[in-house]
């Protein structure tokens, strides 16, 4: 019997944590038990991107989009959808604005404005089956490069495409390849940066989990173009599923003659090895990464020489980011001119963002460059959680900046984000609302950079620590206006005196927030108040005597016994004992406790 339906189950790390594997197993078992085992094909795919609503199950050809599916729903999905041909209404994704259930993926706002190049296969194919990648034009680009194109043709195509590196800096990819190609050396290397250290970013993880072959194919194409025979993928040890999928994919590619000796009979040899990172953010920096692959402490090295000239073991090395690699095969098959039409003149193509924080639809989104922040946060992201007010969005992680409401209509590309004091970075996009304290978030990022500084240069090591001390003063009510001048002087020293971009960019979240949220800093410095109620030393919990009915719930919850009062009488909090844990506020059913 022919296959009637394809059931796609998300097998990304996110959905797997919500038992998607069990859903997958149950669907297989139920299909068998209900006698339709040979009419449906159940496939475990990579991430669909809509993580907020996971675990997700999609059924083709109807394109029904089921969300928050539980393992026990498998039975009904088979008996209703597959056998009776009726969609299971209660599991369909609900567009609340329309108050109606949607059936098709194309109807969902979250996907409408997206354009998928990098994630073209994520959520469509079984990443552990090379045939599915091949069926969607996989390895066609490699074939073209091996047999029909010269290395210069490949570089010319990348130049026409205008692809810029997606690891953060946006360096033109063709130029990097060309530099490495021009080096006269018997031995050269290709390397993939899958360190993804920015906390709040998971584009690269999802790409590797959902479509590992595209990265392998991209790297092999580069090997042929620049004359390298060995590649390395440097991936964080925190990503076990991505590592597993890469290992499976590489083994299958070798079996098919797409990796290893004499690829497709072309006489070209190329293989890839995996090297694990070990939880050091600075190892995402290219020279530190190469140190780490060599087995050393990951400390950045002065450039020049650039890796393209002297990289791994002093040999010319071409290093690109996962997302950059994933773009390469598509550019080769569809042509640079096609790619160049997408996005903006400054930055052709698309960008994948990890949209998280106080936004309704957290998830992975891929949009053409030039899409505005507002479109991403409101149209795709569905706006702010709980109808609260937008405060800021941070792009570029610890190296980026906070962007305020006035700049939400900025079209996003490398240049556009730099112009408003942030940067593209690797693609994290963190939304903050009125409950978040700007000073606290700036402190969070700075704390991260201070922890992750390798300590090699004084401006980064000492400057970062001094800035953190100043922020500590602000959040505990001891800040002064002189501190603001000090921030500017220290930041300048870090920007000009640090060896690598970690130190150079660490002040960015602080500087950008000082610029756009000066009044929030003022509130901390002058009024000694935290408007968002986050900075514990600046807040007090108070009980409203008009609302308190004396139920004693809060007094019983308070871990330090700061609350007193008799039963059915007004209660009070002793501020000198209170540790500001907020337990009382959460326990009061009468909304009598508030933060001041």
């Amino acid at each position: 019997m022919a296959i009637r339906n394809y059931i796609l189950v998300c097998g990304g790390t996110g959905c797997e944590s919500s038992h998607s594997d069990e859903i997958y197993q149950n669907l297989l078992a139920e299909a068998e038990a209900q006698g339709v085992g040979d009419e449906v094909q159940v496939v475990k795919t990579g991430c669909f991107g809509f993580c907020e609503q996971g675990p997700i199950v999609k059924i083709l050809p109807e394109d029904s989009f089921y969300v928050q599916v539980k393992p026990q729903d498998a039975k009904e999905l088979i008996s209703e959808h597959i056998i009776k041909g009726r969609q299971v209404e209660r599991l369909l994704y609900n567009i609340d604005t329309l108050k109606q259930k949607t059936a098709k993926v194309d109807d969902i706002e979250f996907y409408k404005k997206q354009y998928r190049i990098v994630l073209r296969n994520c959520g469509f194919i079984d990443p552990e089956n090379i045939d599915e990648y091949i069926a969607r034009s996989g390895y066609e680009a490699l074939e073209k490069v091996l047999f029909d194109m010269s290395p210069d043709d490949v570089i010319a195509e990348l130049k026409i495409a205008g692809l810029r590196g997606r690891g953060g800096a946006g360096f033109p990819t063709w130029m990097k390849w060309n530099f490495t190609k021009m080096q006269q050396n018997e031995i050269k290397y290709v390397a993939c940066n899958a360190d993804e250290g920015d906390p709040g970013a998971y584009m690269d993880r999802s790409t590797l989990e959902g479509d590992p072959h595209t990265v392998i194919e991209g790297m092999t194409i580069c090997g042929k173009t620049i004359g390298a025979h060995q590649g390395f993928i440097y991936i964080r040890a925190e990503y076990p599923l991505a590592i597993h999928r890469l290992e499976v994919a590489m083994a299958q590619a070798r079996e098919y003659g797409l990796l290893g000796k004499d690829i497709l009979g072309s006489g070209f040899d190329f293989d890839i090895e995996i090297r694990l990172g070990a939880g050091a953010f600075v190892c995402g920096e290219e020279t530190a990464l190469l140190q780490s692959i060599e087995g050393h402490r990951g400390t950045p090295q002065p450039r020049p020489p650039f890796p393209a000239v002297k990289g791994l073991w002093q040999k010319p090395t071409c290093l690109n980011n996962v997302e950059t690699w994933a773009n390469v095969p598509v550019i080769i098959t569809r042509g640079g001119a096609w790619f160049n039409k997408i996005g903006t003149k400054d930055s052709p193509g698309t960008k994948v963002f990890a949209l998280t924080g106080k936004v309704k639809n957290s998830g992975l989104v891929e949009v053409p460059m030039g899409t505005t922040l507002r479109e991403i946060i409101y149209d795709i992201g569905g706006g702010i959680i709980g109808g609260k007010k937008f405060k800021a969005v941070q792009t570029g992680g610890p190296s980026g900046g906070m962007i305020s409401a006035e700049n939400l209509d900025t079209p996003i590309d490398f240049g556009g984000l730099s112009a408003i004091g942030s940067m593209m970075g690797s693609g994290s996009m963190i939304v903050m609302n009125e409950d978040d304290c700007i000073v606290d978030v700036a402190k969070f990022y700075l704390n991260f950079s201070v922890d992750e500084s390798c300590g090699k240069c004084a401006p980064c090591r000492i400057g970062g620590r001094s800035l953190l001390n100043i922020l500590e003063k602000f959040t505990s009510g001891n800040g002064t206006h002189e501190d603001i001048d000090k921030i500017k002087a220290i930041s300048h020293a870090m920007q000009v005196g640090s060896l690598c971009a970690l130190g150079q960019t660490a002040p960015n979240p602080l500087l950008s927030s000082l610029k756009w949220y000066a009044d929030e800093y003022e509130a901390h410095i002058v009024d000694k108040k935290c408007p968002a109620g986050k900075c514990k030393k600046l807040i007090t919990y108070v009980i409203d005597p008009d609302k308190c009915i004396g139920c004693t719930a809060c007094a019983r919850k308070c871990p330090v016994g700061a609350i007193s009062g008799e039963v059915k009488k007004k209660h009070t909090i002793d501020a000198s004992i209170c540790i500001k844990c907020g337990a009382c506020m959460a326990s009061c059913k009468f909304d009598a406790i508030s933060v001041h």
């Binding site: 076990p240 070990a278 990890a354 998280t356």
Partner: protein, 156 residues
């Protein structure tokens, strides 16, 4: 003289021997040691130094540089609470507080009976499900304070 007790399994010894002469092997070997033994003890570090002939100082240089490597034995169930940006904004810290009040351990501590240890991590790539924690590799997403006792009880 009595025989020294073998601390590495034969599988691990085989792995190390395979990687012995590969350039850049040290980090890969330390990962393998940690994945088998849960941490890299002084004894293991000594043994690796001897097997691949690198100075112990170099091994400690690497171990102390990378956050992922542990030099003390973790609990039977190592709890990781994510304090990456997305999880931080969604209340990751309150999970740490709740674990403190449930188990009496803070970040970097281990319970007296050795059952649980607690570690803060920086983004495990499940930011869409923030706040996130893991226990022994199992990932829990959108965790609330209230769920913590239930989650912990599975491991008691």
């Amino acid at each position: 003289m009595s025989e020294k007790k073998e601390i590495f399994s034969s599988k691990l010894i085989k792995f190390i021997n395979e990687w012995r002469d590969k350039p850049g092997n040290l980090i890969m070997i330390l990962h393998q040691v940690q994945s088998e033994l849960g941490y890299v003890s002084r004894e293991s570090a000594d043994k690796v130094a001897e097997m691949i002939d690198v100075p112990l100082a170099k091994i400690y240089g690497v171990l102390t540089f990378y956050h992922f490597f542990k030099m003390t034995k973790p609990g039977d169930n190592n709890i990781q609470v994510c304090l990456g940006t997305a999880c931080y904004l969604k209340g990751g810290e309150s999970l740490v507080d709740e674990i403190l009040s449930q188990l009496g351990i803070g970040i970097g501590d281990i319970t007296k009976d050795g059952k649980f240890s607690l570690e803060a991590v920086r983004c495990i790539g499940c930011c869409g499900l923030a706040p996130v924690m893991t226990i022994g590799g199992e990932v829990f997403g959108k965790v609330t304070k209230k769920q913590i006792p239930g989650i912990l009880s599975k491991y008691l």
